[in-house]
């Protein structure tokens, strides 16, 4: 009975695995619909080194700016942080020729997407319509937020002003009650012809907050405007010089060759495992297939992951640890069997002992991965995420998948030692004694024979 149910379970696992592999690597058109299914593998976002993306170069105005280098570096960092906060951990911001900023964003095909990501830097000007006097500019804005204001029934951009801005805004509004004030967007130094809004000053506005009401527009417009204003508040003024697509740094071939290398490597590892551990090697192979499918799935669905060359190293490491978990288990089982236990008893004892070892060794690496995520910046924390997913999956693979599979396989056959590559020690009890004698010769004084202590250990 048990044998039969094990065969059924194994067959089920096989079917699920095959479906998983198909979903992982094959993209196809869904039947009876217009949608295409994209495989996990093809949905994984790739970094600049493997896939390229888009770039934009921004010119800056350095004339008359104090401490320009420091401000430019500050802007570089803010841009980088902005991109990371939008999930682009692998984006790069570099300073070119000491005056320009170059932004590179991976895995985006459309160059104008840069503006959606960091906004087309815009300056704001609050202008008195009578005198054309500029009341405040974007420099006086501390933060901007766009949302739908239900009391006004319109999307608004709420601005928090700096102390200087608040003071100036208060003074001028107090002196110009009942006059109109317009808010203009200034792009690349040119003021738009039509203001985004014009309003009558009802009273002095002293609270350090100003609001732009965008009647008749979408909430998204307010959100976009807020982003534009925020990017206009960088320490240095940015104006777009050029933007376009860019190819991978490692060359077009890198990814393709990398995949081939990985596949050949995996095949060799599988061959090695089957050679060393026979049916257990087959179990390890299935477990690795499960690991690979799950890994591809998580890489595809989790945000913050843009696979780069270092990320692949992280995957290789966790794959290595998944293989290691299996090896630790099988070597333990071999040890137990060598000392005289039955196959089933060896399996049980082997798993029990290996679990502790696998648990401890993986937890230490998990600690490292979590610390990398917390303390690392940009690509380092991205690497930490890939590593963390990989190790958790590798633990799951060796402790759950391998264990279950071993149970089912041994339920089908638990008598043929050759099937599992197991071997008794050379007449195991005397062998133990032989070893002890050698030890005695070296340590001179061992009295406790290993045979006795064996009982104490178990």
């Amino acid at each position: 009975m048990k044998k039969k149910s094990s065969i059924i379970k194994l067959a089920l696992i096989g079917v699920v695995l095959v479906i998983g592999i198909v979903l992982s690597v094959c993209s196809f058109k869904l039947p009876f619909s217009y949608y295409n299914y994209n495989s996990f593998a093809s949905s994984i976002k790739l970094g600049l080194d493997l896939k390229g993306g888009i770039y934009a170069v921004y010119d800056t105005e350095s004339a008359g700016v104090d401490n320009f280098d420091a401000k430019l570096a500050g802007t570089q960092k803010r841009l980088q942080d902005l991109l990371v906060s939008k999930g682009y951990t692998e984006a790069l911001v570099t300073i070119e020729d000491k005056t320009r900023l170059r932004v590179e964003v991976p895995d985006v095909d459309n160059p104008s997407a840069v503006f959606e990501l960091i906004g087309q830097p815009a300056e704001l000007e609050f202008v008195l319509d009578d005198t054309d006097e500029i009341v405040i500019t974007g420099d006086h804005v501390k933060s901007a937020e766009g949302y739908y204001d239900s009391t006004q029934g319109a999307p608004v951009v709420s601005l928090e002003l700096t102390d200087e801005g608040a003071e100036r805004f208060g003074e001028i509004t107090a002196a110009n009650v009942d006059k109109t004030m317009s808010i203009y967007i200034v792009t690349d130094g040119v003021r738009d012809e039509t203001p985004i809004s014009t309003a009558t000053i009802q009273e002095a506005i002293t609270g350090g907050r100003a609001q732009i009401t965008m009647s008749g527009q979408e909430t998204q417009d307010a959100v976009d405007l807020a982003a534009q204003i925020m990017s206009g508040t960088f320490d240095v003024k940015l104006s777009l010089k050029e933007s376009s697509t860019i190819s991978p740094t490692l060359g077009e071939q890198a990814l393709f060759l990398g995949i081939i290398a990985g596949a050949v490597g995996l095949l060799l590892v599988v061959a090695f495992l089957i050679w060393r551990y026979r049916l257990f090697g087959v179990v390890a192979t299935i477990a690795l297939a499960v690991y690979t499918v799950l890994m591809l799935f998580f890489l595809a669905v989790l945000p913050w992951v843009q696979l780069t060359l270092p990320g692949i190293a992280g995957i290789l490491l966790s794959l290595g640890m998944a293989v290691d978990g299996n090896i630790v288990i099988y070597e333990r089982i071999k040890d137990e069997y060598r000392d005289g236990k039955s196959i089933l008893a060896s399996l049980h004892a082997g798993f029990k002992k290996a679990t502790v070892a696998i648990f401890d060794s993986n937890i230490t690496t998990i600690i490292a991965a979590i610390i990398l995520i917390i303390f690392g910046t940009g690509s380092i924390s991205g690497f930490g995420i890939t590593l963390l997913i990989g190790i958790i999956l590798s633990m799951f693979t060796s402790l759950v998948v391998t264990r279950g599979l071993c149970k089912y396989f041994t339920a089908i056959n638990n008598t043929n030692e050759k099937l599992y590559g197991l071997k008794r020690g050379k007449d195991f009890v005397p062998d133990e004694l032989e070893n002890v004698e050698e030890v005695e010769a070296e340590e001179k004084e061992i009295t406790a024979p290993a045979g006795e202590t064996e009982g104490a250990q178990a």
Partner: protein, 425 residues
Amino acid sequence: MKFNRLFEQDFKIVENKKKVFAAPVIVIVIAIIACIVYHFVMGSAFNLGMDFTGGYSISVTLGNKLTDETYDTYRNLAVDIAEGLKDDEGNDYGIKVSSVQRQGDADTAGLLLKYKSVGTEEEMETINEKLNAALSDSMFFFRPTVTFNDAKTEFTAVYDNYLLVGDYAYSFETRLKEAGLNVSSVNVSEDKKSVKVALAAAASDENVASVNEIMTIADNYGGMVSDGGQTSSTVSSEILKSALLAVSVALLLMLVYIIIRFELLSGIAAVLALLHDIIIMVCFMAIFHIEINSTFIAALITILGYSINNTIIIFDRARENIKFYANKRINGKLVKPAYIANKSVQETIWRSINTTLTTLIMIAMVAIIGVTDIRIFALPIIFGLLAGTYSSVFLAPTIWALLAKSFPGTIKAPKAKRAVAKADK
């Protein structure tokens, strides 16, 4: 089988502690010597890549001429020009192109070359000007697709996107004749995109090979080279600091975890082994003067994760053996830590070998099959893997045994002791 038996003899790792410690020391000494030599010969002890040093960029806009088919030709040409750039006396500037990317599309399509600085800022200005001129002189041309007929008495040259071939018909004839081809007629097609050349005699193989070069039209206005100027490093000191902080905190927390799950001495031994791995990897980069880029940070962390895993598996065995031998006396004397260390390594040796082999297979494939940059990335990992295995199998257990010998009483097996105490009652 002999190999198998090798591991059946008792291990004497701790007894050979001098050799165990000598190996890394030798590597470190070689690395220091290498650093000194490189410092004076090459100007810098380490070969820091553009991620750390920044550098210069130059872009070559080629427009529609840059296609998937022509990319490699243009790329290699640009790299050859940059790397072969010489000063007025004919000495190589020694520029090394660190990356070439395709950027833009349609009219703006072009190549972006990045390279490290090879001189002072003033010198670089001259060098960049020269590079600009050299690239402008030889990057722009129209290359035709040439097809010969079977008898090799006639060939057609088709130009992808050039409509003024007619203007060159006369010069083609002269140039072909100069090259020793017996031209009988040159005919430009109506759409002016292709040229048909008839020969009076069959062309020799040598001639066939040279025709493409002869039919290539120089196009001095077909593109633009523009200096990108200096590029800042992508790994700022801030990123480096945060990476260092992360690794330090990670090491500390791993230490705490190991102390909780094992004991203090195992923790110290494991962390020392990890430091060894970091140092050896850095030494490796120094000795072979391999370019260090941001990917190296990732390689280091990868090896840390791998090596701690290895060490813990062996210490797990030691933990069991400590329990097992806790109250076993050898004629009145407790079993020595060295014995436990040796035995634990021995019992896990097949696992260590097999795991290292499988991981090596994977990464070696990447090194063998991958492109150059990936190879450069894989090398430190391979070396780190070996260093990590060495530290786990030889270094960590030896340090542990020596520490345990010096601080007896730190290693206890409380559970086992209690069990024995109960049994005594």
